[in-house]
Symmetry: C2
Subunit: 456 residues, 2 copies
């Protein structure tokens, strides 16, 4: 049932398209959904794509357009006139998709396209939607919805529904409003059809409805829909009038992007960049964190530089610099990732931050003890040279347990503090915490080493 | 409209509960949804929770139970008899929730509870579901669905629908089957109600339906629902008979967990662990990667150990060990994260891996040039000691550009290779790539340094 795009399929299709073999083309794509067809076009060059597009029905063409990669769509739209865009595409789209599409066009072309939309109501819906920032409920919502008045009886409702729902693909819920368009509640299609005709909406609707404000941040909308298992949520304006609805398929992307953003930050990538983006975009997204690492490396070199003499006398001190630095970094990333994850899914609960720090201290001590015992045994049983070097063995073990201990505490506290001051705690993971702990670990290691060597 | 849990609210509620003030309790929770109430109970101790639970209606109680944290639910269920669990909870649950709940119980208690379920059909549905592994379509699906026979007319359908849908909260889609229960297609509620009574299902249903096999992996189900924007997907057995359906709210968690799993692996956490888990679980999830780091550190110490003499003569070589190691790690994590992300959302496209490696080489060269020029200028303008040390300056810059270059290539190739051999490429991110690049970077740095110092 599911479509797997292969090189062979594309070759076969391109052949059928270029030889204008309509029967073959339509047969090849008969079972495909718009998103499958979009995948094909993403892999074609512009000429192939334009030729192929001609075989699609109008509705198919509009659905496919929305699913294309942004850069492919941009190229494609450039090859069309404003009138073509309005008549062939916008007219066949839901208001939210149409607004998204228009928002990608240059300003003059946008205005031209809008002037070519024939359905005045749709044009005004779209202009309305274009006013909302993209990352708000308003920017995500669609205007198409089915609504009934709380004062109507069921018979009126069903007639009204027949009229309204002709234009709407999926009707999940019927919204109930009062005479001033204020959202009153919801009523399920099932309820509506199972209730005798002469009943009033007022008596059977459900007034416990969760709605979101038009200005709400998209990530908050995602959290609400996820928490309350909502498939669709109504959007109201500042005074509570119903203005649109958001469906879960638009929100799944937001939820996923949010989870991926943390991953990206933890990996030291500062912008939303993909492997398909060009080298300049890739460099811009990656260089900032590398510069942070570079700064960290320079600071570490300064710290080590002050112990130049000790390294000359005891070069074995240098051997374990990477070990100490790396372990500090690893522990820090682990701790901060756990806090970031906990903050994101709100699983950290109400009990104060103190608990977390105590637990981190104990986990840090356990991990630190295990690791520093192991490295101690290594240094005793496999010494560098012929004799056991007690000073370096003890230094490395004490430094390691200290670094693991403190790195865990830093990794826990820093994201909590950032969160408190409304800064994205995910910033604290990845290169930032690694670099901090590198520096701190190096410092601690040399301080401890210096003390121990002067005693022993 | 949305509920924000506060310490004050809990105190007020606990006071009302302990003084058995039913009016006050019901007023406090009047506007709350099951998931909100579950949040409250997650924060209460067992006695408070049991007292509070008594105020909930039966249906509310069942809905809340499903939303509780797993450990809270476990404690709570221990305080109940098998009969109570069956009559008070299972009877009010959908089959998928009931099966999830039962799968958490010890074997004997599970059997006891099942024997107390009065509705034979429900009991058999639940036993059926318990047979499927948790991470498959079968383990996620619910048995409750509305289905009609392809040979019926609309009137029969609507009557049947009235009967079937009484037990089902949300009807999204009506499934069409043949006499052998084979899935034929779907029909929307809207379509059904807008078609005249004497028409046949056969003539109006939509036969292009996407379904999933009962044995399909949950992550694959998630990808299909996401790709095709499905709110609900039917589940069929090996020969195509309709056996259940999966709704998007159950899949949102799977999609999110998948995105979070990569984050977790990149952060060096090997098991699904939360900050609320105990120290033993935390240690178990975190120690493995720390041991990998420890091994890496030991190998690095061996490499540096072979250059003992050089360090003694030129201690400044040691200063830049953390810089080189850290930069290699950072670049490696960035590159591998981009590949992992691309593989996960299939945005890497059809064009071969070669493209990616070439692009990575160019990005690596750009980043490497910038960073090594900067560190060269630093070493020239701010030398350690009084005079410019050309040897170390050149060594560090050449080593840095080489490390950034190779780390990027490793970070790109390793996840691609893992993916090819069906190993989770996310394993390659985080500590694994950091450690490899630490070792490699240290090695390269000393090899280059040794060569340069023997020339100059």
């Amino acid at each position: 049932m599911q479509f797997e795009l292969t090189k062979e399929f594309i070759d076969k299709l391109n052949l059928a398209v270029s030889s204008k073999n309509e029967v073959a083309v339509l047969e090849l794509i008969a079972e495909l959904r718009p998103v499958d067809i979009a995948e094909i076009i993403n892999e074609q060059n512009l000429e192939e794509a334009i030729l192929f597009y001609a075989f699609l029905s109008e509705e198919q063409a509009a659905d496919v357009l929305i699913e294309l990669d942004e850069d492919v769509r941009e190229k494609f739209l450039k090859s069309l006139s404003s009138e073509q865009i309005a008549k062939q595409f916008i007219d066949n789209m839901d208001s939210d998709d149409a607004a998204d599409l228009l928002s990608e066009l240059p300003v003059e072309k946008k205005i031209e396209v809008i002037s070519h939309i024939e359905n005045i109501e749709q044009a005004s819906d779209i202009i309305d939607l274009l006013n909302y920032p993209k990352d708000t409920a308003g920017g995500l919502m669609a205007k198409e919805l089915v609504k009934v008045n709380v004062n109507w009886d069921i018979k009126t409702c069903i007639n009204e529904l027949r009229r309204q729902s002709l234009e709407i693909d999926n009707v999940y819920t019927v919204y109930v409003i009062d005479d001033n368009s204020m959202l009153q509640g919801i009523i399920s299609l099932k309820r509506l059809f199972l209730t005798p005709d002469n009943n009033k909406v007022r008596d059977i609707y459900n007034d416990k409805v969760i709605s979101v404000k038009v200005s709400m941040n998209d990530e908050d909308v995602g959290q609400i829909m996820e928490k309350y298992d909502l498939v669709v949520v109504p959007v109201v304006d500042e005074i509570g009038r119903l203005v649109g609805r958001i469906t879960i398929d638009d929100i799944v992307d937001v939820i996923k992007e949010e989870a991926e953003k943390d991953y990206q930050l933890a990996s030291g990538i500062s912008e939303n960049v993909e492997h398909s983006d060009n080298i300049w975009l890739q460099t811009r997204a990656r260089l900032p964190w590398l510069l942070v690492g570079l700064m960290g490396g320079i600071i570490s070199s300064k710290i080590i530089g002050t112990y130049e003499e000790q390294i000359q006398i005891h070069p074995e001190t240098a051997f374990f610099i990477p070990l100490i630095a790396a372990m500090g970094g690893n522990v820090g990333v682990q701790s901060s990732a756990l806090v970031v994850k906990g903050l994101a899914n709100k699983s950290l609960g109400l009990n104060g931050s103190w608990n977390k720090v105590v637990k981190e201290i104990l986990t840090g001590l356990t991990n630190g003890l295990v690791c520093s015992s192991l490295i101690f045994m290594y240094n005793i049983f496999f010494p560098h040279g012929d004799t056991i070097n007690w000073s370096i063995s003890i230094t490395v073990s004490i430094a390691l347990i200290s670094v693991i201990f403190f790195a865990g505490i830093f990794g826990t506290i820093i994201p909590l503090v950032l969160h408190k001051y409304k800064i994205d705690p995910a910033l604290a993971t990845g290169p930032f915490i690694t670099t901090t702990n590198d520096i701190f670990g190096t410092f601690l290691y040399f301080v401890i080493g210096h003390m121990l060597y002067s005693i022993v």
